[in-house]
Symmetry: C2
Subunit: 367 residues, 2 copies
Amino acid sequence: MGRDRKRRTTLSDVAAHAGVSSVTASRVLRRPEMVSPALRQRVESAVRDLAYVPNQLASALASARTGMVGVIIPSLTNGVFSDYLRALHDVLNAADLQVIVLNSRYIVAEEERAVATLLGQHPEAMIIAGIDQSDLARRLLQQSGIPVVQTMEVTDDPIDINIGFSQEAAGYAATRYLLDLGHRRIGHIRARLDARSRRRAEGYYRAMEEAGIVAAPYVAATPRASTVAIGAELLGDILARSPDLEALFTCNDDLALGALFECQRRGIRVPDDISIMGFNDLEFCASSHPALTSVATPRYAMGKQAAEIVLEIIRGSGRRPARNRIDLGFSIVARQSTSARPGAEAGDVRRAGSRRLASVRVQTPAE
Amino acid sequence: MGRDRKRRTTLSDVAAHAGVSSVTASRVLRRPEMVSPALRQRVESAVRDLAYVPNQLASALASARTGMVGVIIPSLTNGVFSDYLRALHDVLNAADLQVIVLNSRYIVAEEERAVATLLGQHPEAMIIAGIDQSDLARRLLQQSGIPVVQTMEVTDDPIDINIGFSQEAAGYAATRYLLDLGHRRIGHIRARLDARSRRRAEGYYRAMEEAGIVAAPYVAATPRASTVAIGAELLGDILARSPDLEALFTCNDDLALGALFECQRRGIRVPDDISIMGFNDLEFCASSHPALTSVATPRYAMGKQAAEIVLEIIRGSGRRPARNRIDLGFSIVARQSTSARPGAEAGDVRRAGSRRLASVRVQTPAE
DNA sequence: AAGTAAGATGAAAGCGCTGTCAACAAGCCG
DNA sequence: CGGCTTGTTGACAGCGCTTTCATCTTACTT
């Protein structure tokens, strides 16, 4: 109970100050149109005089409406989630919903904890990055009864609603793009080794296998969080084993940037000696020298749609969207860091060349 | 009240399931040592059976303890806050406190709203980046009675507790460093134009003025959010006016990276033709080619200390720290992107040269 | 063996707010 | 001008939990 802590001003303080009942004071704050202008003004000035801040806890408990949406992402550090969070904020804040972000650090157990913590706050919806929740987390989410959106990736078995794109298909498309440029010795580096980067790698392996190329000599990975420095390091690892590397597909743009710098340091020309292709198309890709080819992922769009669907369900009388699985696709943005292999066959080069002028939208619609 | 929404399992459901009173069930969750092992087990399995998630709202309302710490930062996009947030999470989560982050988007009015929102949730402490809060925000914070830490910058007039470093001094030191290398035509670019970047610029102007150099021809700025692309663009702006630029101090590392790429594009050698110096020392500075000289700011340390002080006050019987203002300083990390001007006087070069081997800790202790 | 301290459990109250419903005033109809 | 609707206000209960505080055991003391 109260503790010795100095008591905060409450609604009834405000009501007393204004000479009305606390119900009226509450209404001035929640539904002002229900209160006569005279009283409304008295209450409003009382609020100002006392610098009253409503206790959201009590309000939420009484009304069963918290006005918040829980968001879980694996990393606050990763530039990938900036656009995504911005979209969530843009849409949700405009609707007077507060976004509460928790960080799972790419650890399933932490994600589970975050789910429980957030659910305990009774958010009106949950938006969670990724599809690899633990069984308990899934169960908690399911029985919470609130809309749950899984993002960043598509799955056949969503908890509730799913918006994303196929990481595997994106990894495949990126590799395919390099193959079409005539490259054969295509490397892949990745860090962190989380589920999403793993599926991107699977796409890479599938494309390589299809092309009949043994990928192993051209792959390097580390469980450490990805950084620019690691990009340089892993490229170094591959080059030490396979100096004949022709192209590199990195699991994300930071690694690509690191690889690019490492090439500069070693005097390896990009793209003449090695083509480099990133993933996510972060802002700097367009501005580096040479500008980095990358796979543009619909980060803002995923956040926006997730938020809009959630909003529709919360505000719109609980109506569910017609489709609970949406594939937003991805696109390859061709820039200067990739080019056709000099000796490549005409057919290959032409096929790839056609993609170099504009970005290609690759989308596998979920039914 | 309840709405038609399916009722969630409550503590008394658990209690009933376990055949105990709800008080006992509560104790099993809060203070298990107070309950006999037999009952404890029964309750615990009931919790598991029903997948019970405590209603934090009700718990917080009843106990006047929310277990959360409010955090306000101006941007989720900016890499600068990653380390800071990580530190807050590291310390606070370990103490079972939840961190709630709100984003003010560098807008004072939004910050004020965020303060009110957060305070309405009754956090046990507030940690807020920057020192430029609105009057109302200050007042709300002050009368909340909880510990409030302002970070990222030092001020003579803290709301409560203040941990940071002098942005102005850092801007000054950076410029001074370039001056000591023998450069005269030192440019400065900045974006966003928030209060902190303004004070860094003030440091730059002070150093330039002291050196008797007119800075105007070498300065470019934009209110847009800073990106790598803008770094390139602003450098271009300066070069269009002042092709004789010798060195560049950027307001942050993203701009520095953009400037570096722009130099590469134009065939300007760094550091031979132009020295480039960033600010913040983000991870990529060490890995770029050439590696970027930057001003290392104690982001993790600020977060860590802020969190630790808050923890001490919350948990440690409300004892306040001896000092409520802590200056953590900054240091200049000299790398390859800066070098002495070829024709510089020996004395100048020697002075600066001594700093090039190791980073220099510059700290102005607050009294 | 009787008395006491320590430990375990539950009943009741209440955290600060909002939903419901009743009470009342004012405005409208015929 | 009485009965009705419409609009405004307040009393009361209760959201789900924790915190006293009283009660009942059990273990220990002398």
